[in-house]
Subunit: 205 residues, 2 copies
DNA sequence: CATCCAATGCAACAAGAAGTTGTATTAACG
DNA sequence: CGTTAATACAACTTCTTGTTGCATTGGATG
């Protein structure tokens, strides 16, 4: 797939310039308004080159994102579930707050069919869910969480609230806010529903 | 704004045909790919008519949405917070699951500036928040919730989880799932954080 | 360093969409 | 019925998109 007979100097420079320009465009105008011509102008690379090497603007951005996303991020490990989840939350917030992340999210939402853009978004989330699984696993080993705790519930709650705040409310994810959200999410999984209901029953009587 | 010298037969028919076509287009191709020509073809109305009456495709869809969104929805009132919130959640889910709602959401997310599309999305959410305020107010009067309960926390939690499930996970909002989400959200606001933390402290020791 | 040829640049073009304008036609309203 | 607002139609310009043939550049190779 990535074989080229001359990967050296110029080809590499062109490739990098085009990728940089395409991501900048993505951040500026969004996935829907991408065009080969704009990327060509912005990168200084002639449009015929882009048409011949990639064909469409989508393909360019796709490759750029794949190359960019290949950097693996270590799972937070502070010795405490809450702090781990806060770190994970900050990571998620940083990603979807940036213009590029926002554009990807918007495009992934709009794409009704399972297009290539959705694969990237899906990959992002499955990675987060996997990380959360590790975090929860460690917490169970430490005895901070009960044995059968479902990690997906925890991430979903936290991720959902971050997502909503950034995308809909358009407010920044501050540390105090995130801390509170994570706290209540961790409590929710720590106290099984039945017991929680029982307690609230007692309290309200 | 809405004055016209001949609001009768033909003008009305044209208006309705154009609005219907524009919303259908919005659902099909999304906000970003709207075009006057497509709406013209789809509605059977000549494009010059649309250009002269509305100017741009955005304006057409905007008016269509405003007219459509003017129908007021009554606040659920079942006598129980949880059931009220579930009803509200179902309403939210129905709205953002439909193709049109999805397109609006995607467009609102992508629009970095505060464009007209964002006003529609904002209006939708502020209405939900207002409804939740009424629901919570009633619950406080009934003694189901403590006096100072912030309604925004409750809606935000529920709305966020629905949003995430529909937009990111792309799963349907089933009644059992929604019920569980609302339950835990109501519990979270019913048990103040400090007490909740204390209890979990006791339980884990 | 000399040579080759893949990669890129360049210019001209075709195809189509977007928007405008002048005029003819239709039908709502009195 | 007559008036004229509202719409349809056709022709046109302009802009964007994508293609093609050819010239030029500069890695790679011996």
């Amino acid at each position: 797939m990535d074989e080229m007979k001359r990967p050296g100097g110029r080809t590499r420079r062109v490739r990098e310039a085009v990728f940089a320009a395409s991501l900048a465009e993505l951040a500026d105008v969004g996935w829907g308004s991408l065009s080969v011509e704009r990327i060509a102008d912005r990168s200084g690379v002639h449009k015929t080159t882009i048409y011949r090497r990639w064909g469409t603007a989508d393909q360019v951005v796709l490759e750029a994102l794949l190359e960019r996303g290949s950097a693996k991020i270590p799972v937070p490990d502070t010795g405490d579930v809450t702090r781990d989840m806060i770190a994970l939350g900050q990571l998620i917030a940083a990603n979807i707050s940036a213009p590029i992340g926002r554009s990807i999210a918007a495009a992934a939402i709009e794409a009704a069919d399972s297009s290539s853009i959705r694969q990237i978004a899906d990959a992002f989330w499955s990675e987060r869910f996997e990380q959360a699984g590790i975090i929860v696993g460690r917490a169970i080993e430490r005895g901070q969480l009960p044995g059968g705790t479902e990690s997906t519930d925890l991430v979903e709650t936290v991720a959902a609230r971050i997502w909503f705040r950034v995308m809909v409310n358009r407010l920044p994810v501050s540390d105090p806010w995130l801390s509170e959200v994570v706290d209540s999410a961790v409590e929710a999984v720590r106290i099984p529903n039945s017991i929680g209901a029982e307690i609230s029953e007692i309290l309200s009587s």
